[in-house]
């Protein structure tokens, strides 16, 4: 049994400390990304833009998919998925890649997946102005539904963190988790309505699609951003309940495994 009694109970300092820690680690992640390449933070924009360019070419000029405001449609899907995809992939390697933090006495190790998902969120927010430009170019009128965006961001954040916890723990026991996950995420990209319309999916498959929480998230984002309609509240409610069940489970799994991290890495 391990007891660490704080010398004085000072809740406010603890809260300030967690805020500072989160901020410092997120800033470190961003700085490293920025310092490693001459283009720096611009890379986070260039990569989805290039993807978008290819999609627009393939689906508008080769396959002749007829989706109105295709750039806005595809780019919004790409941004949402990129956040979850890259956060999950990076979170999986967190424990094995941060030996010194894991061994630091008193370090709240459970903050690490939150840091990764927050870094992803910041990239999302940095790319948001580009999406707004696409919306304007496509002639979309932003209306009041736009202000539901923070609500969706919180939902996606919680959902991503819930999966990030067990994945990070699993990668300590099985070192190929990250590679396997990379492949799975790549496949997942194609079975999400990112560059095609969910309504085009034939019926028996569509109900299967809807089991994927990412699908309801994507549809809700598009509803409030591209179509200016209210999202499907029922599916969002299910999503919220799902997140509130998955997060404690994921956290517990991570917490229980974390006692063995130092021995295993």
């Amino acid at each position: 049994m391990y007891l660490n009694k704080p010398r004085s109970r000072f809740q406010k300092r603890q809260l300030i400390y967690y805020r500072d820690l989160l901020r410092e680690l997120v800033v470190r992640d961003l700085k490293l990304l920025y310092k490693r390449s001459t283009l720096g933070i611009a890379w986070t924009l260039i990569s989805p833009l290039l993807q978008l360019l290819v999609f627009t070419f393939v689906f508008r000029s080769v396959l002749l998919v007829n989706i109105p405001q295709y750039s806005s449609f595809a780019f919004s899907g790409l941004l949402v998925w990129t956040w979850t995809q890259s956060a999950l992939f990076q979170a999986t390697g967190l424990i094995t890649g941060n030996r010194s933090l894991v061994r630091q006495p008193g370090f709240p190790i459970t903050i690490l997946p939150i840091v990764t998902v927050t870094t992803g969120l910041i990239h999302f927010l940095l790319a948001l102005p580009i999406l707004l430009i696409f919306l304007i170019v496509d002639g979309v009128q932003l209306n009041s539904t736009f202000w539901l965006l923070p609500f969706l961001l919180v939902l996606q954040f919680v959902l991503t963190v819930s999966f990030a916890y067990p994945l990070a723990a699993l990668n300590v026991t099985f070192r190929d988790t990250q590679h396997t996950l990379g492949v799975l995420l790549q496949l997942m990209f194609y079975i999400l309505p990112i560059f095609y319309d969910l309504n085009k999916v034939p019926d028996p498959y569509r109900s299967l699609f809807l089991l994927n929480p990412m699908v309801s998230l994507l549809e809700s984002y598009r509803a409030i951003l591209v179509y200016g309609t209210l999202p499907d509240w029922r599916s969002l409610l299910i999503l919220a309940i799902l997140s509130s069940i998955l997060l404690p489970i994921g956290y517990r799994v991570f917490k229980r495994q974390s006692e063995r991290f130092v021995e295993e890495i």
Binding site: M1, L3, F174, T180, R260
Partner: protein, 405 residues
Amino acid sequence: MNPAVIAQALGKRYSRYHADRPRTIMEAALAGHRRMKAASHFWALRDINFTVAPGQMLGIIGHNGAGKSTLLQLLSGVVRADEGQVQVTGRIGALLDLGASFHPDLTGRENVFVSAIVAGLTRREVMGRFDAIVEFAELEAFIDNPVRTYSTGMQMRLAFAVAIHTEPDVLLVDEFLSVGDGAFQVKCLDRIAHLKANGCAVVLISHNVEQIQQLCDQALWLKQGQVEAYGDPEVVAVRYAGIVDLQAQAKKFRSYSQAVELMEVKLLNSQNVVVAEIQSGDLLKIEIEYQSLQQFQNVIFSVSVSDENGQIYFNTNTSTSALVIPLSVESGKIRLCVDRLDLSGGSYYVNAGIFAPDWSETYDYHWHRHPFQITWTPNEQSMLCPPRRWEIVNSPISLDLTQQK
């Protein structure tokens, strides 16, 4: 005052796994659950008890693999104990793997902020101490350069400066004082002494026995995961040093100048018969046969009795008896007669040496080469067995309870 660190019946068990334990999901799926289980267990630490009060320093010594680092990890809380309890009061600071958390691409300044916040300070607290940290590390001119341009020594200095400025209540130090240049080491020790004076409890791992003796208030000697000795650093460190010496002896046969050579050391009883075993309290004569290769005005013969751990129980030499022993080129014998050897039963060694009159030179020395046994029947936990008897003073009947040997 409440202790800052309490370890109670602490134990840590590690598992050994099959060599072909699955390390990947694919292998696990194929091998099934059974190979995931540990093949065997062993205790890396067991039954460790100690307390460290605020302002005290505990030194931990022991050979490699004795469990010293595991113990620090248990104290820091990053590894869970399988038995017993650890209680630590206040913030923990650690000088474990110094500089490991630095990122080479970030500047010194950025790294100071990251590692100080990771170590438990808020951003405002770091800003308040930043100048002191940089000044202590003597890196004012380089603080905005990337850490990859720093030398190992510079990184160590910066890491130490950060760790020491977090003002921990408990400081864990793993064998770091052997790095860095002398002047900086002194500065580090000063700073640790300062923290200690302000009530910081320190747990220090060291291979340096002298350091333990000078700095620590208590010492703990770990041997194969168990406490071999715990208590006064002088006593523990001397015993530990004895063992280290002994092992060094076993490995290499030390050669001395051998201007006078010890030819033979014999243990004799009162009838001058060679013995390998005596009873506690018996007379013992130690006969040294020597061969001198040159003439000497005076030499010192020294004899001691020690046990397997190197603890010396009895030590004498010819200079304490003010004897002057001139030697010519010849062989000869000298005999030390111990009228009573009142040690308790066990295995002992007689050690003998020949030295220059001012101890400046060792001509020859036999350490742990002449074993003998002392037998002793009563079951008493003591080192000495002097002649003794009980006298019952109040009783009108006088009982003669003289100990029978």
